[in-house]
Symmetry: C2
Subunit: 195 residues, 2 copies
């Protein structure tokens, strides 16, 4: 059992996302939240999987040796939405959110969450990909969603757990929780191996 | 937009499930909850899809002509869990819950939700199937889950939105919300066609 195995660790979730906090709680873990500000910038030549893993790594590496005790365990992650090999960022405003959702409309995209687990003497990075099939969205539906839910902090301009997730997503292939922000099943397995 | 299209209907969710209530709320619909007691029994010769649809139909048909007004819209559904063509019921107690989860462990099963939409002059039944891949569960994990979450009211003895959904489910193929109890995307489309 994971919670038992990790009981001597001081687990830190390096993320301000309320969804990641919720998911880690639902996994039954005790932890505290301590996001560090980093610029989410990655080298141009990375593919989407490499970018998600890179961003999770720099979030974990914002914790230096001085921040870490013998029993510290950092969990850092980053979620990237990709369509036809291109990464779709977080929308800067309503016009950009409309543009992103129009790109996703009627298509299958991939959501990749990179995760880095870090302790004083070791660290490990992995990622999980989920395919998401969107129905064709009307402009009325897109406008309603953006005006009501204001998805400006979200990669791909949507939250799967919101109205649009019920209305627009025909099916997924992979982990639902990964689309929300944390691949909980894989994280459970990786933490068992790591600890 | 569906909420607009349905605004003259008095929508009744014929289910006591808090999860179905939550999902219908997240779809943005206004409705009231009015479960009727029925015996969840179906003819032996039905396959799992037919059984789920049959059970949703008898839940809807518990509302007779006298219960229905011109503007009444009943939504009734039933979720069935099936492994290798066999339907797994709701566990009668802990021993049966252990047995069911041991059957699901390390295997792929199907979750089928049948839905019946019913108005005074017409009704429509459909169903949606989602594949769910479970990792191999230890007896310790199974015991912990059953003791903590007591999944005795749940077909297949688990709730995907609970701890076990994070820990044990490697992937799904289809609709996540369908496994929770209501295929929200398909229901949205079917209601648009029906109304």
């Amino acid at each position: 059992m994971l919670a038992e195995r990790l009981k001597h660790y001081d687990i830190i979730l390096a993320s301000a996302s309320p969804r990641r906090k919720q998911l880690l709680e639902e996994m039954g873990l005790r932890f505290r939240v301590e996001p560090k500000h980093i610029d989410e910038v990655f080298p141009d030549d990375l593919n989407p999987v490499e970018a998600a893993e890179f961003l999770s790594r720099i979030k974990a590496d914002a914790f230096t040796k001085d921040d870490l005790h013998d029993n510290t365990l950092i969990i850092a992650s980053d979620t990237v939405v990709t369509l036809d090999g291109e990464i779709l960022g977080k929308p800067a405003g309503k016009a950009e959110a409309i543009e992103i959702l129009q790109q996703l409309s009627g298509k299958t995209h991939e959501v990749i969450t990179g995760v880095t687990i870090k302790a004083l003497d070791k660290q490990h990075t992995f990622s999980v990909t989920t395919s998401v099939v969107f129905k064709t969205l009307s402009l009325q539906e897109i406008n309603h969603y953006i005006d009501t839910f204001k998805p400006f902090d979200k990669a791909g301009a949507y939250g799967i757990q919101e109205w649009i997730g019920h209305v627009a997503i025909e099916r997924i292939d992979g982990s639902y929780f990964n689309v929300m922000g944390l691949p909980t099943h894989s994280l459970y397995e990786e933490l068992l191996r790591f600890a």
